[in-house]
Symmetry: C2
Subunit: 225 residues, 2 copies
């Protein structure tokens, strides 16, 4: 808040999304605002990173803000966000996604995203998020923010209560694997795999691995497709 850099007279924006239609939509949003300048777009995380690196070596100005879709084939938006915020700390990344899976929000914020927008956002909200990012703030969609706090205050922590190993287990469950499979993958005994599965179910208050798999998908731990 008082941390704020002042707003530059023109804010350079870049869009990363595999859907051309969405890129167009955001371009249309942004070009209506004179202080915003869309300087580039990319259809994948890899492409975005390559473009930023190229600009950097050429001495061209980098975008102030990158609008980053999270759901993309290949390198996901989370990984791309992480890579960008690490190599170009001045570039702020605002996450953009269709649905508000709490897990993704966490992951995005952990990757130093400077905001979290839903795709049904109106132009004003996008503009707000961009301005907030430039001044060092973090904009969260109100619905998301509410859910996030609800999750924080919830007595039974969700996926966050799982240990690293248990998450691995859950991911394998959500790939439809049996306990024996899981044991093989992780080179542990099947009994141990079962212990982990049992612990996961207990923590998530579920009664079957299928329910766990569904929850993992709902929470965005693994992609549905």
């Amino acid at each position: 808040m008082s941390n704020g850099t002042t707003l530059p007279e023109v804010i350079r924006v870049m869009v990363v999304d595999d859907h051309a239609i969405v890129r167009r939509g955001l371009l249309a949003y942004i070009s209506t605002i004179p202080t915003f300048n869309m300087i580039g777009e990319a259809a994948s995380g890899e492409q975005a990173i390559a473009l930023l690196n190229e600009w950097h070596t050429l001495g061209r100005p980098l975008p102030h803000v990158v609008l980053m879709d999270l759901q993309m084939p290949g390198m996901g938006g989370i990984a791309a966000t992480e890579a960008i915020t690490r190599t170009h700390p001045d570039v702020k990344v605002v996450a953009l996604t269709s649905f508000g899976e709490a897990e993704r929000v966490h992951a995005a914020l952990a990757a130093d995203a400077a905001g979290y927008l839903l795709k049904d956002a109106d132009p004003e909200e996008v503009a707000m998020a961009i301005r907030a990012a430039v001044t060092g703030g973090v904009h969260l969609n109100p619905t998301i923010a509410r859910r996030l706090t609800r999750r924080m205050t919830a007595p039974t922590g969700g996926l966050t209560s799982l240990t690293v190993r248990e998450r691995e287990i859950l991911i394998l469950i959500a790939e439809g694997r049996s306990n024996r499979d899981i044991a093989g993958r992780l080179t542990i005994s099947e009994r141990t795999a079962r212990t982990h599965v049992s612990n996961v179910l207990a923590k998530l208050q579920l009664t079957s691995r299928t329910q766990a798999a569904l929850l993992a998908i709902r929470e965005g731990l693994v992609p549905p497709g």
Copy 2:
């Protein structure tokens, strides 16, 4: 093909999508083509239907083509497509979605959609699909079309090989229910439920209900969220 009506000098288009950004993107696409005229947009299936009915009673010209997102809260795009093609047979509906779940394609075509676009379509493809729809043709995304034919010719039919009852079973599996639960819901014995489950797994060539649940979600039989 030779079935075709001739193209009107201006094609009226309407967009239905809950994401404002996507609506903007399509508007941007379409307004670049002079023969296309965007005459309205809606954020839900209900809204779209209401708008069409209103125009109809007012004697205003209806759109030639409606671009319809399938994934929407409330009434889904499939149901909206069905309603529109039934009450306004002259209006062609082109389905538009993020991912190509084969199940959705089938459902969309069954609801008399006149095309199936992915959201990463470029402007040319959108234009082609719209023109095809107006002339009575059906445009399918090439990737989708390939998958469809692959599915048709595949020796082991996918979800389509299931009977109505088996689909019901699969849906309940994909909700994380146990055999006993399923039996209760459908008022059949648990043994029968198990018979059905076993048959479903055999037809889908899977070995566990969890895999079946995941497949049901991938294929769009049930929503992930």
